[in-house]
Symmetry: C2
Subunit: 224 residues, 2 copies
Amino acid sequence: MTAKNESKNSDNAKPTVKEIPDKIVRRLPHYYVQLKNMLNKDVEYVSSEQLASIMGYSSSLIRRDLSHFGQFGKKSYGYDIHCLYSNLHRILGFNHEKSMVIIGAGFLGRALANNKSYEERGYLLRGIFDKDPAIIGLEFNNLRVMDVERAPEFIAENNIDVAALAVPALEAQKTADMLVKAGIKGIWDFTETPVEVPEDIILIEQNMNDGLCKISCKLVQKSK
Amino acid sequence: MTAKNESKNSDNAKPTVKEIPDKIVRRLPHYYVQLKNMLNKDVEYVSSEQLASIMGYSSSLIRRDLSHFGQFGKKSYGYDIHCLYSNLHRILGFNHEKSMVIIGAGFLGRALANNKSYEERGYLLRGIFDKDPAIIGLEFNNLRVMDVERAPEFIAENNIDVAALAVPALEAQKTADMLVKAGIKGIWDFTETPVEVPEDIILIEQNMNDGLCKISCKLVQKSK
DNA sequence: TAGATTGTTAATCGATTAACAATC
DNA sequence: TAGATTGTTAATCGATTAACAATC
């Protein structure tokens, strides 16, 4: 609906400019972290072949992924580590400031409050909320837990972009509805239950139980 | 090396019996949860078409996924919900008892200790460890935090299958090495850093920052 | 029987890899 | 120049979907 669509066939109301395939998006942070580790070393260039042997992707895939965003390499040299790093920084949107709140100040919410990587990724943690009077008022990482009743107002007034959803499964949908109504743009969902949101809301399911299931499934396979 | 390999070409030392494709493994827990929700309702059968419309997968994919494990459906009726549910239970290995420990009793470790879904999935939480003297001795979910120095002995003696790794990034590799040495079979890794383990160890990276990156990347795409 | 729905095969789609011309 | 390595095109591989015969 935002009419900023530049794609050729705009007959279909897709909000795509030139959407990055999900498979690539998933690998970008890995490239980013690897490059970051290399920044401190005293080499200037790295080849796709070198990255491949370190990271376990094929060099072909790496070159193809990166070429999606432009031509960052120098033939016969490889990629300028610093240049590629800062390009990935930009592509991942870390240079855009994003505001965030945490809903639910149980142990998980507190762990999220203590996360140290927000700043580097452009997130500004603005608030943490809970409904338990015994928790409201406690302080984690210099943030005082607020009453979740105040969240809608806070989110709307402060134009919060993202909410980490760390409430019990039973509260999940209700809370997500509240967040959407308040104008949230993305939800980082840690609940163990399926949550429905309108399709223009970014929903990232950080489903931990899937990991538990995967291990279980693989353990049985091995024991057979 | 376990010589239980029944695959045709056993020239290559792969430990496969008939490995389930990762893509399918990832969907199995979703089917499982959906079926579980349906158990309480008073319908007996569900068709792949019905599941498809609820879950967002195509009916074709669902039938194909399930047919990987046998013929569970009844033509013209669909799938017996209870039967399929218990088959998934078995396929996911939930009927095998698996013992587990948590390494690191920070907020994240405590959140993991409070997780309610272990039992249903066949996990038995046996211990939680930390190195901080101020934390050792505290109790979460009826488990007293033990000194991580005692972990190797505990894991070996009790034949622990899985460890949830919830330590700071700097301790990650060192701790993983300790776990492997102690005889762990699977690691559920919550650290934000790449961890190397021998390839016969099941390693599930529960990388939370990837979610954060994904949201950031998608937010920028939308704002463009 | 007619209608419904599986299990499976063939067709399509998308993602990865291989190959190589361009060029530093 | 010879060697290295990119960016990109073509080939391959794998996963999803469509189609349909089998059958309840």
